[in-house]
Amino acid sequence: MSLLALQAVEVSYGSIRALKAVSLEVQEGEIVTLLGANGAGKTTTLRTISGLLVPRPGKVIFDGADIQGVAPHEIVGLGIGHVPEGRRIFPRMTVVENLEMGAYRRRGNLGPDLDRVFGLFPVLLERRKQLGGTLSGGEQQMLAIGRALMGQPRVLLLDEPSMGLAPLIVAQIFGIIKEIRQSGTTVLLVEQNAAQALSVADRGYVLETGEIVMSDRAEVLLHDDRVRAAYLGEGAA
């Protein structure tokens, strides 16, 4: 059974249908990527999973239970961590305070979790007393991922972690995404940077104007002519 599944999910903004019968599955321990151009519905899909949008009709199943109608902050408590688009760290809190906010729904000792995050992102340890707003873009992205990990999620939703970052930093972050999966957290990764995303993912879905048009193993998609033409910037063969 899959850890997370969307079943024929439709979401509308007013009269505009943003998602049309989207179904996808994420198995425990996988990295699944959701590719698509601007406006294809990638962020909408993530926002639906984290409860910020409600599908009509359609279902979001997490760990065997329908989570439709559960409030977003409670979904975090169920084990779905969301790293929102544009990072959205708390600019006036220190790095440590930001991380502590990520564990807001948990009680008890945060030490091991802080150690884990600092292990993944040593730069955050160096900057632990600095305010979030003074970090560089890459460091903020790391902080946003770290904050979500503090909630001990079973599945981590990442919304365009490569956005606006230098290629070197992007490569570093994708390396860490692999490490996160190795430590047992499932990852659903939304990306425009298809080459990077497919290089770390196990499987991928391609979203076009609200519909899933392709889904396959990552290396198949990586070599698919249509994907190469549309998302990897190569002319059609």
Binding site: S50, L52, A71, P72, H73, E74, V76, G77, H82, V83, P84, G86, R88, I89, F90, P91, R92, M93, E100, M101, G102, Y104, R105, L131, G133, T134, R147, A148, G151
Partner: protein, 449 residues
């Protein structure tokens, strides 16, 4: 000062043009001040307001003031680094002293003793100011500080809850045209008035707190107007525009203990002082609690707070209701003290005034709210009849507005800023994030957060 290397010539000419502009601004400001405080025009000579103030020798005094201010502000800019290190020194000293629990608690104890003893030495005019102007508004400011300062919600209808508290007092004591089943002394109305304000806060809050920033401000503004218009027009229930008289004073009758508050100010003062102390202690622990951290996160970025598992709506409603209950209690107390309540007391201007007190003191800072309310409520009373600085009551808001403008330029964090607020402004100076009063988000796409 110049972080970026700019060659000497262009840097000094840049400075000079800035100095000239600053001079222009101060001279213009001084002239406006001269006109503001000068004689008024009349129907026969409508320009007399300008000629009487600008062509009169007294304008020279204002120009001199403007020049002095220009010189001071230029000196301040020129020696910014030195000023910074000096203020940082003061701040460090303050933090070192206040960081020490013994010093801090000792200071609080001394202040409390002064607050208990000093009023007994005042004449009845100042005792009345202390209760009606200062005490009540300190309580109001401290309550609004939770809403605006902690949660970052711009509430422009805050005074509506004050009205609800006041009319609760009138209702339960039987002063209104409509009578309750049983009459109560105002003292026992305290929980009922607080409850009424909280219920009103929750009813207004649950649908509207989904809105952000500007929208919430508009809705609360409307709510404040609705309450005051209903109070004015629903004469059969509220007694209409002329208000309601005969609200009894507080009294306590417990088996062998009887006490009756009366026309004397001091007993009300001590009652208020007791509540202010309770509220301050409660809000201080709120600030440092889980709820306080949730409110800080909401203030910084609502989306991120929700993504971190904070029930944003719940905490916003909570902050709103806490503010409402404080306001409601203040309304009850004031209505009972002056034994009178009228819709004219609950104007938008008053909501704004309380916001000014909080902003002046330092948003999100408890000592700031107390200090801001005390200073700004005391100063007009003191200055009103001063031989040189005396002013007309109707001009009060002009001066408050001017004061706020000056404040926002030179010390936007307020006279006693909270630690967090100081950080925000320091960040804004570095060009990171925003230091908007309300918005916490550094992301413009977040909308008016």
């Amino acid at each position: 000062m110049s972080r970026i290397a700019i060659n000497g010539v262009s840097m000094s000419s840049l400075r000079r043009s800035q100095d000239v502009r600053r001079l222009g601004a101060w001279v213009l400001g001084a002239l406006i001040l001269a006109v503001m405080t000068g004689p008024s025009g009349t129907t026969t000579s409508p320009t007399a307001g300008f000629t009487g103030s600008l062509l009169h020798p007294r304008v020279l005094g204002y120009l001199a003031f403007g020049l002095v201010m220009w010189a001071l502000s230029t000196a301040r800019v020129r020696s910014r680094d030195r000023v910074h290190s000096a203020t940082r020194g003061v701040q460090q000293l303050r933090e070192k002293l206040l960081g020490d629990n013994r010093v801090r608690h000792g200071t609080y104890l001394v202040l409390l003793v002064l607050a208990i003893l000093v009023p007994t030495q005042l004449n009845s005019f100042w005792q009345e100011v202390l209760v009606d102007q200062i005490g009540v508004f300190v309580l109001l400011a401290v309550g609004l500080n939770v809403v605006v300062g902690y949660a970052g919600l711009l509430d422009l209808g805050y005074i509506a809850f004050y009205a609800i508290g006041a009319y609760s007092a009138a209702y339960w004591t039987g002063a209104l045209p409509v009578h309750p089943v049983f009459h109560l002394n105002p003292f026992y109305v305290i929980p009922l008035a607080i409850l009424a304000a909280v219920v009103a806060g929750v009813i207004l809050g649950v649908p509207t707190l989904r809105l952000r920033g500007d929208y919430l401000a508009i809705v609360t503004l409307g709510f404040g107007e609705i309450i005051s218009i209903v109070a004015t027009n629903l004469s059969s229930v509220t007694g209409g525009a002329q208000g309601i008289i005969g609200i009894p004073h507080f009294s306590v009758h417990l088996s062998s203990f009887h006490y009756q508050w009366g026309l004397s100010n001091l007993p009300y003062y001590y009652l208020l002082l007791g509540f202010v102390v309770i509220v301050l202690v409660a809000f201080r622990s709120l600030e440092n609690s889980r709820v306080g951290r949730a409110l800080a996160a909401i203030r910084e970025d609502e989306v991120a707070a929700e993504a971190s598992g904070v029930g944003v709506l719940k905490y916003k409603v909570m902050a709103f209701a806490i503010g409402a209950s404080t306001s409601g209690f203040a309304g009850l107390l004031f209505a009972s003290k002056i034994s009178f309540v009228a819709p004219g007391d609950f104007t938008v201007q008053l909501s704004i005034l309380i916001l000014v007190l909080v902003t002046f003191g330092g948003m999100g800072s408890l000592p700031g709210a107390v200090l801001g309310a005390a200073v700004l409520q005391w100063a007009p009373e003191y200055l009103r009849n001063h031989p040189i600085l005396g002013f007309q009551q109707q001009d009060l808001y002009i001066y408050l507005g001017a004061l706020l403008v000056v404040m926002m330029i030179f010390r936007p964090s307020g006279i006693w800023p909270s630690r967090r607020r100081r950080r925000e402004l320091a960040l804004a100076e570095e060009g990171v994030g925003t230091a908007d009063a309300m918005s916490g988000s550094s992301d413009p796409a977040a909308g008016p957060g």
